[in-house]
Amino acid sequence: MNIVVAMKQIPDLQQVRIRNRQPVLDGVPMTFGSIDKNALETALQLKEAVGGNVIVISAGTEELEDTVKEALAAGADEAYLVLDDELEHIESSVSAHLLAELIKQIENIGIILFGEGSGDNYSGQVGPRIAEILGLPEVGYVCDIELEDSRVKVTRSLEDCEEVVRVSLPAVLTVMADINEPRIPSVTQILKAGKKPQQILEVEDIGFDLKGDKKIVTLSSLAPENKRKQITVKNGEELVDALLTEGVIRR
C-alpha cells in the first residue's frame, strides 16, 4: 500500500519580518508547513505499523527540489513534484488540480494525508477539493487512525465533540497538529535524502492552464496596523496599577 502525503512549501514564517506593513521575504528559506509535518509523521507511523511506501507530493517553485529533502530525510521513500516558478502564489483550486494529477500517477494508494491547514494560508480547502476531484471519501481534523484491512477507523476532533467514523480505502484524511510529534531526522538521514527518488513533472506535462483558472483576486495584502502604547513597566505592582488605571481589571 502506498501512503501519500501532500505537503506545501512555504517561507519559514519565523524569519519573515515586516517593513512598511509589507512582509520581507528576500533571503527567507523555504520549509514545509508545520501541520504538514504532522501529516508526514502520521504516514511514517502507519508505514512502521503495516508496511508500504510513503510518497510525498507537492507543487511549488524550483526550490522545492531542495525543500523536499526535509521530508525524504525524515523517512519518506519517494517524492512526486510539480515544479514551476509560476507556482509561488497559487490558489487552492489550482493546487488541488495539480496535486490530483500527481496522485493519478501513483498506483495502489491506501491513504492520502494532509495537514488540516497549510502553514501560510491555512484555508483547509485542498484536501476536500482533491477528495472531490478523485471521488473519494474524506475525513478532516483527524486525531487518531486505526487501519482495518480495506477500511480505516478514524477519530475526528470537532469543536465540541469527537466523532469516530469508518471509511473505505482509499480515503483522504486531514490531521490535527496534536496527532503526533514529528521526528527530527539524523545527520546521516539528511545526507542520504538526496539519493531518494524524485519524480518531477512540469505544469505543461499535466496540461494545466495556470492563468486560465483564476477564481480569486487579491486586492491588497498588508500587515495590520499596530498601534500600541509600548509602555515599559518595572515590576508587578507598577503593572497592576497601570491596568487598574486603564480600567481593564477591577479592584
Binding site: P11, L13, V16, P23, I35, E91, S92, S93, E116, G117, D120, Y122, S123, G124, Q125, V126, G127, P128, R129, A131, E132, P137, E138, V139, G140, Y141, K153, L158, C161, E162, E163, V164, V165, R166, V167, S168, T174, A177, E181, K215, V217, T218, L219, S221, A223, P224, R228, Q230, I231, T232, V233, G236, E237, L239, V240, D241, L243, V248, I249, R251
Partner: protein, 321 residues
Amino acid sequence: MAGIMIYSDKDELSFELLSGAKLISGHTGLPINAVCINNSEQAQGLAARGAETYLINNEAINLADSQGMASALESAAIQLDANIILLSSNRRGKELSGRLAEKLAAGCLTDVGSIKVNLDKIECMRNSLGGAVLAAQMITSDYKIIAVEPRVFEEMAVGKEGPINNLKIEAQAAELEVLEQRAKVGDTANIESANILVAVGQGLKSENDMLIIKELAEALGAEIACSKPVATDKKWLPEERIIGLSGKKCKPDLAVILGISGQVQFTVGIRDARTIVAVNTDENALIMQMADYIMVADLHDLVPEMTRALLVKKRLNGVRL
C-alpha cells in the same frame, strides 16, 4: 442566476450568517435563502428571524459525510438559483467549503474575518502568510463560496416571521459510517468569550509552574490560554486553549502574555485584544512590539509578584477573597 444561500450545521452560526447575507443583500438586492438539513429546530429559528427557509429532510444525508453534504448543497444551490453561498468557518463548515467549491467550480475563501460590499463586489478579509498579513480578496468565478468565522456577524434578531419550505433533495447512502460521537472530556474552556486571558508559552519551565499561572488567572478572573507548542508538544494544556492561526482568535479586553516570543502564527489570534501585556526575558522578542505594557522579566518571578500585588489591592479595597 443570482441569489444568496446560507448554511451552517450550528444553529447560532446560521443566525450569524443570516446577518452576513443581509449585508450582501442590502447592497446587491439579491434574495436570501436559508438552508437547513435534517434540523427542523434550526429551520424554525431561521424563519423566526425572517429568513426564507428551506428545510431538507432526508435521512440518507449524513452530517459527518462531507461528500453527501456537498452534493445536497450543490443541488440546493441549483434549485434555489443561488450563486453566493455563505457557510460557517467552523471545522465541519471548512471541510464542506472545499468540497462544495470543487463541485461548483467555485472560488472559495475560508476563515473570512470581515466582509465589505463595494457596489456589487464582495471583498473578504482573511489572514495570509501565517497571519503576517491581512489580505483583501474577491472571488471572480460565477459561484462564490465564503466561509465566515464565528462571531464576525451578530446573530440576526428575531423579527418578522419568514416561511419554511420543504426542499426535496435526492441522496445516496453515505459511504462513511459514524460509529460513535462523544463529548470532549474534561476541559471545556471557551477562551474566545473570556474578557481577560492569561496566555503562556514555552517560557514556562515545567508543568508544575502551571500552578503560579493558575493563581494569577484566578486573581485576575481570567481564563488560561497558550501558544501551540504548550498544548501540542508539551501537552500541558488542551488543544481548546491554543491561541493563533490554527487555534482560536480572541478579542479580550486584556491579554497577559507570558513567555511567548510572538511569532505571527500566535499573534494573529490575539492582536485584536484591547490591551496587551507582554512579559518576556528577551527585550527584543517580537511580542514586545505589539504590547501596550512591556515587562522584561522572567515570568517565574513576575507572575507571583503580580498575583501578590493584585491580592493586596483587592484587600485594600475591602474585597473578601
